[in-house]
């Protein structure tokens, strides 16, 4: 876990206030690191200006890997390594391989997607995500601002947060 990171943490009670605050705070030149909320807030991604996730691409690649792997494995095993006569069909015939290929594609695509997601969001095993404020799992929206990413001072950022409706402004060091 990284150390020596200083954050200003703004606490918001209401998602409408939060949404407008995000826009105004970004407009005033403060770079927001992340916002944690207890439930999905509609439009928050757009307000934060996030790029669209590239997870679908990863999922497609995993799926493609599954397709190729399944087709190759079945063809090699049933066609060449240990040919078996099943109902008089050709050893390496495509139609019976399709259901397995389909299932393996789905398996690889979905597990690949989930595992990639867990890794990129720092939720892999033996790594605990930072908690800026434990109340983000209850009823507060928590906005984290990394001081290293901002030119403004701690107090200035705190003032901007208060002006835009933050109910509390705290500090957090990791």
């Amino acid at each position: 876990m990284q150390s020596n990171k200083n954050f200003v943490v703004g606490i918001f009670d209401d998602e409408d206030v939060l949404l407008h605050a995000v826009e105004k705070i970004r407009h005033s030149g403060v770079r927001i690191d992340e916002v944690y909320s207890p439930f999905p807030v509609h439009g928050l991604d757009d307000a934060l200006g996030y790029r669209r996730t590239r997870l679908p691409i990863a999922s497609f690649m995993f799926g493609l890997m599954g397709t190729i792997l399944a087709l190759f494995t079945q063809t090699w095993m049933l066609g060449y390594d240990w040919p078996m006569d099943i109902g008089g069909k050709n050893y390496a015939s495509l139609p019976p391989f399709i259901p397995v290929t389909f299932e393996f594609t789905v398996l690889c695509a979905s597990w690949g997607l989930v595992i990639t997601f867990l890794i990129v969001s720092n939720m892999k095993p033996y790594s605990w995500p930072r908690s800026y404020d434990i109340r983000s799992t209850d009823d507060k929206h928590v906005m984290a601002i990394d001081l290293a990413h901002n030119k403004m001072s701690k107090d200035e950022i705190g003032r901007v947060l208060k002006e835009n409706g933050a109910s509390e402004v705290n500090e957090k060091n990791f």
Partner: protein, 448 residues
């Protein structure tokens, strides 16, 4: 909140449709002359030889049936049979578009869907084809039944006849009950009339409620339309399946597939969805339907993407079961399609047009939200499913004499023009966007 908006069926549009129809007619006439003068008789005998060797290798008993069928099918000249097959193929295809229009509306009511509120008039207008398609079907059935449906030949049911067919006689009750086998297929005919009658009745009821809502507002019309929709869905679940057996599967009388009802429905449904999407996109291009935005198109795109995969699943399910079981009277259906031109290239093209292209092209979010890409995919899918229905109908009717050329394309164009004419004039007679739809506000703010 919704301004009055009416589709104006301009005379320029009508002229364009007429030109397209004239091209179709020209194609049809050229196609008929080509089919007449191609001297198909020698070819026919040569191909019968191929079929004998081909089917003999599969199953001796089935080969006999095939040969008997090929020899005895001398009712009409080849070109006329091709015309009948093309009419039946196109009629089944476009009836699908009509009935799916009503089915789509009913699904939206039953699911209490909000997103579709501004586009529901387009499928509703498509539903007005049900009556036209039904009339065409009944007329064509009387004219062409002995060429399209092998089971209408009375000698198949006559035990003293040489061509007595115990298998078809065993299935005869499905067509002829309660009358004698080989007479007038009253049960089959009544089902045809009953289905069109019921579908049209529910179309009229739902349409009445939707249009009354424009005038009166309130939610009572919505609830009534939902009630009719729910009942219609139950009826449609049964009738669409039986219609698929009656009108399509019974062409290949010996053959049967337990998945066929689903298969025809899947093909109809995805074609209907693409037709709705295409009409919405063209209306938007023409400046109508300003309330429809990328989010609504995204949902339509997801529908097409998902149900293209669903169709593939059904297609493959049917194919794999028959391939694996390897029962001669079932495999012959696919053997004929995979080894005879033009069915063979259509058979493989089918998978690319209806699965590979929509699957890869519509996978990303952006392609579903942009009209240009959606339009391309819609055309691919519509043409693909037109070929799909071609392969369901024509091989059974034409056996080895089938063709895909000017005749079939011309007939397809003519049907397209008449269909668009009926749908667009129905659309121009109502509000293009529902005025007092209870979910309209939700749909205007729809965001995904």
């Amino acid at each position: 909140m919704i301004a009055d908006e009416k589709y104006d069926f301009k005379s320029q549009t009508k002229t364009k449709l007429f030109i397209l129809g004239a091209v179709g007619l020209l194609f049809l006439i050229v196609g008929i002359f080509m089919a007449k003068n191609s001297g198909g008789h020698e070819e026919h005998h040569a191909s019968t030889e191929i079929s004998k060797t081909l089917t003999a290798s599969v199953a001796p008993q089935e080969a006999d049936h095939q040969m008997a069928a090929a020899e005895e099918h001398h009712g009409s000249p080849v070109w006329l049979k091709r015309v009948y097959a093309a009419v039946w193929h196109n009629n089944i295809f476009f009836i699908g578009l009509g009935i799916i229009g009503l089915f789509f509306v009913a699904i939206q009511y039953a699911a209490q869907a909000g997103w579709s509120a501004p586009i529901k008039r387009i499928p509703l207008a498509m539903g007005s084809w049900i009556l036209v398609g039904g009339i065409i079907m009944i007329l064509v059935w009387f004219v062409a039944k002995s060429d399209i449906f092998h089971w209408t030949h009375a000698d198949l049911f006559d035990k003293s006849s040489k061509s007595y067919d115990p298998i078809i006689d065993g299935k005869g009750g499905f067509f002829y009950w309660p009358l004698q086998h080989g007479g007038f297929p009253i049960f089959f005919f009544l089902r045809m009339v009953l289905f069109f009658g019921l579908w049209y009745l529910f179309f009229a009821w739902i349409k009445k409620e939707m249009l009354a809502e424009d005038l009166n507002g309130g939610s009572t019309h919505w609830f009534k339309a939902r009630k009719f929709s729910a009942i219609f869905l139950v009826i449609f679940a049964v009738s669409s399946s039986i219609a698929a057996w009656d009108w399509v599967m019974s062409i290949d009388t010996h053959w049967y597939s337990t998945m066929f009802g689903w298969y025809v429905f899947a093909s109809w449904w995805v074609t209907g969805l693409t037709a709705i999407t295409l009409i919405v996109i063209y209306l938007k291009d023409a400046g109508y339907l300003k309330v429809v935005n990328a989010n609504h198109l995204h949902d339509l795109g997801k529908f097409i993407f998902a149900f293209s995969i669903f169709w593939t699943y059904i297609w493959f399910g049917q194919f794999l079961l028959i391939y694996y079981a390897n029962i001669p009277e079932e495999t012959i259906y696919f053997i004929n399609q995979m080894h005879t031109a033009p069915y063979n290239w259509i058979f493989y093209a089918n998978l690319f047009l209806n699965f590979v292209f929509p699957f890869l092209l519509l996978m990303t979010r952006d392609s579903k939200r942009h009209e240009s890409m959606l339009k391309v995919v819609c055309f691919i899918v519509i043409i693909g499913h037109w070929f799909d229905f071609y392969n369901m109908v024509t091989p059974g009717v034409m056996k080895l004499e089938g063709g895909m050329g000017f005749l079939e394309i011309g007939m397809g164009l003519i049907f397209t023009v008449v269909f668009l004419f009926v749908v667009l004039s129905a659309l121009s007679k109502m509000q293009l966007v529902a005025k007092h739809h209870p979910f309209m506000e939700e749909s205007l703010h729809y965001h995904i």
